[in-house]
């Protein structure tokens, strides 16, 4: 968990247990308590809704439908001298950079450089001690986290945080709910708007599952999905909120090279569909391969910004990563 404020809400054990169990259980459809081995039920959404077999249809349904004030190529999100202090510790020291609409921006830096803090400042988990985050022309100010999501910033988590007792489809539908307005009265009496929204939600969620490639496991509980599918499901859930900006927090952690390649394809596909992507990643090859621009942080300060090729040559960056092979920085 990344948020000390409410992270203490869950117990330390909870977290520990979770990660331990993840390690054991993820991707294993093995033994039931009774020792009976069962196969998972595969319900392919394409099976339920045959049109989804066509990737073009999928991509169209997934594509964002929201009006964005920012023109393509203009700044979608701007960090303006953002400083973040925790007690005496300065985690971010007047960091400024911007994310332009339609690009894939990489945010890198050695451990403890403030990448995740930066991320949390954007998504409202922390409020900046100083400076401003301006999104789509308006400062985020004191918006609550769910309001920021509604404004159009979605994220995934470094340590997967799916709703594990829900099915994959339901997880994604929770994401689509961010755009819905039905509340208790509407749902209790099943008003027409509620029905319409429910229909839309399922339709879009199925398309999203197909889009990220877990369509075959729509009705499985999230916790029973293989690790890689869980990561992809998180992306689908984030996309479901119809973000203007999608923030991915180390989406390739724990992936093998083949999976990484598939992920790169997926990220490109997401961008191609009209989303803007912010990527935090340790894997240099992946970052260099997929991003348009890169911002480098070290000790809470921005030390470089530029295209992958420039970053590769930047002496400050090389110094920061000196002696550390790309792949092992994690």
């Amino acid at each position: 968990m990344t948020d000390p404020g409410s992270a203490r809400a869950g117990s330390h054990f909870d977290e520990q247990n979770r990660s331990v169990e993840d390690a054991e259980d993820v991707g294993s459809d093995k033994d039931l308590p009774g020792g009976v081995t069962e196969e998972p039920v595969i319900v392919d959404v394409a099976d339920v809704e045959p049109e989804l077999a066509d990737p073009a249809v999928v991509a169209e349904r997934v594509a964002p439908t929201r009006a964005i004030d920012t023109a393509v190529g203009a700044d979608l999100l701007e960090m303006r001298d953002v400083t973040m202090r925790f007690g005496g510790l300065v985690a971010l020291d007047s960091v400024s950079f911007s994310i332009r609409r339609g690009e894939i921006l990489g945010l890198i830096g050695p451990n403890g450089a403030g990448k995740t803090t930066c991320f949390n400042a954007m998504t409202g988990v922390y409020r900046p001690s100083d400076g401003q985050v301006v999104f789509d022309g308006e400062p985020l100010g004191k918006l609550k986290r769910n309001q920021i999501t509604r404004r159009g910033i979605a994220r995934t988590f470094q340590n997967i945080r799916l709703f594990s007792e829900m099915t994959a489809l339901e997880n994604v539908v929770v994401g689509t709910d961010a755009r819905h307005r039905t509340s208790v009265p509407g749902a209790t009496f099943r008003t027409p708007r509620h029905r319409r929204e429910e229909h839309d939600a399922i339709e879009r969620a199925m398309a999203l599952l197909e889009f990220v490639g877990v369509g075959a496991r729509a009705t499985e509980k999230a916790r029973n999905l293989p690790y890689g599918d869980q990561r992809r499901l998180e992306i689908a859930r984030a996309l479901a909120t119809e973000p203007k900006l999608l923030c991915l927090d180390e989406p390739a952690a724990g992936f093998n090279p083949a999976e990484k390649a598939a992920l790169m394809d997926l990220i490109r596909k997401i961008r191609a569909d009209g989303y803007t992507v912010l990527l935090i990643e340790h894997d240099m090859r992946l970052v260099m391969g997929v991003t348009d621009r890169i911002v480098v942080l070290e000790f809470g300060k921005k030390i470089a910004e530029g295209q992958p090729a420039e970053i590769r040559e930047n002496p400050a960056v090389i110094a920061a990563y000196l002696g550390v092979p790309d792949d092992a920085t994690a």
Binding site: M1, D3, S6, A7, A9, G10, D14, N17, L32, P33, G34, V36, E38, E39, P40, V41, V43, D47, V48, P50, E51, V125, K144, R145, N146, T149, A154, F157, R161, L162, F163, S164, E165, M166, L169, E170, V173, V174, G175, D177, A178, T182, S183, V184, A187, T188, H194, R195, E198, H199, A201, I202, A218, T219, E220, K221, R223, N224, R237, T241
Partner: protein
């Protein structure tokens, strides 16, 4: 409490032949609405008839079965309400009895001649015959408001704090009823609370719902049971609608990971408050039934131990599972009565009164054992969170069958399901 759900014990869905329950569920989910009605209605009718069928071992000896079922109806409502709060939204409420009390006292205060706020009788705005029914929505509203008032400052607290705060609230409500003697009658309580005046006859001057109606098999207890059964159906329908909507998904998301839910755009505080308010309203409804049935309300009926029992009903039955918590309520109410006054069971002589006397001892042991071996309750939760998810369930069952080797049958369903999705 942001309780991470553990893998060890629950049998995951998506493994269809894991148990009879799961197989039944898959089958049931795949049925069409009319088919579900066709199976459901006779079953409900059967439940409704249970207290008058006089089934040998099932019928209680020491206490009237109809009256026991009436109490079961009320506790079942309570369990459904508490399940919204605890089972679905994951908020630990140890003071739920407070809402039960608020509901009961609202009815009693407005209709008991002992109360200074009595509104029945000459020159007042409630007619004697319809007083109970007229006050019922008032009770539900006032309880909902009390839930809102308690929830808005406290729901920002974390789980464990919420537990003790709600417990304190429950006690405060009881103590208020106790201490404000001028209004509530204090320990003397409020008697002659109004009840539905229906079907008065010569032999039955109080009507069908009067406590005095004990002649014959269909006594007042049975009538109250039927009334609560109707209310349970209505509440289940509404709560079911909520569960299969954005609201229910928000609750489950909050239960599983509140921070992640908020970051996914769920207005967590708002939906927690809704859960609390809805739970409170259902508790108040049950309290109003209580006041009507017993026609007498005192503070002692609303102490902490009852809160704990309600919570046990929910956990015992299976939190998050509506049918499960109803089963839990049945066990909590029925078991002590089952033994009371019984001298033999299947020919084996037993001292039922003695067993009933030790009920808390057995109950405590049973809880401990159950929590070790079946912490998810007797009927574990398998929430359905999508309004139009049936085609998926149909497909799931079809796939399950195909994997089993006997493929076929489901295709037609599949197509209709797809149409349903794409309108």
């Amino acid at each position: 409490m942001s309780t991470p759900v553990k893998q060890t014990s629950a049998t995951p869905l998506g493994r269809p032949h894991a148990g009879v329950g799961d197989r039944f569920r898959l089958w049931w989910n795949a049925q069409s609405r009319p088919a579900q009605w066709a199976f459901g209605v006779p079953f409900i009718l059967f439940i409704a008839l249970v207290p008058i069928l006089n089934i040998p071992v099932l019928t209680t000896v020491g206490t009237n079965f109809g009256a026991v079922m009436a109490q079961f109806g009320m506790i079942a409502l309570i369990a459904i309400g508490l399940n919204v709060v605890v089972g679905q939204a994951g908020l630990l409420d140890l003071g739920y009895v407070g809402f039960y009390a608020v509901g009961a006292y609202t009815v009693a205060l407005l209709t008991s001649p002992d109360s200074p706020w009595n509104q029945t009788g000459e020159g007042n705005w409630l007619s004697q015959d319809w007083a109970w029914l007229a006050v019922l929505p008032v009770a539900v509203c006032i309880t909902a408001i009390s839930g809102l008032l308690l929830g808005s400052p406290t729901l920002r607290l974390r789980g464990d704090y919420l537990a003790i705060v709600t417990l304190g609230f429950g006690e405060i409500v009881r103590l208020l009823a106790d201490n404000l003697g001028e209004i509530t009658g204090g320990g003397r309580g409020l008697s002659q609370v109004a009840y539905p005046q229906l079907g008065q006859t010569e032999a039955n001057p109080g009507g069908l719902f009067s406590a005095g109606n004990v002649a014959g098999r269909i006594n007042s207890g049975v009538w109250w049971f039927w009334l609560s059964l109707v209310l349970i159906m209505v509440v289940l329908l509404f709560v079911g609608n909520l569960e299969r909507s954005r609201v229910g998904r928000a609750w489950v998301a909050i239960r599983e990971d509140e921070d992640a839910a908020e970051i996914m755009g769920v207005p967590t505080f708002k939906f927690k408050l809704w859960a609390f308010t809805i739970g409170a309203a259902i508790g108040g409804l049950s309290g109003a039934l209580y006041a009507g049935q017993v026609q007498f309300v005192t503070p002692t009926n609303f102490n902490v131990i009852n809160s704990v029992l309600f919570l046990c009903a929910v956990v015992l039955g299976g939190q998050g599972n509506k049918l499960g918590v109803i089963l839990g309520a049945f066990i909590i109410v029925y078991l002590p009565n089952f033994f009371l006054g019984r001298t033999d069971l299947f020919g084996i002589p037993i001292n039922g009164n003695e067993i009933a006397n030790y009920r808390y001892l057995f109950f405590g042991l049973a809880l401990m054992v159950l929590m070790i071996f079946r912490p998810q309750g007797l009927l574990p939760a398998r929430q359905k969170l999508l309004t139009y998810g049936r085609q998926l369930y149909v497909a799931a069952r079809r796939t399950a069958k195909r994997q089993h080797g006997d493929a076929g049958t489901g295709d037609q369903h599949g197509t209709t399901g797809a149409e349903e999705v794409s309108r």
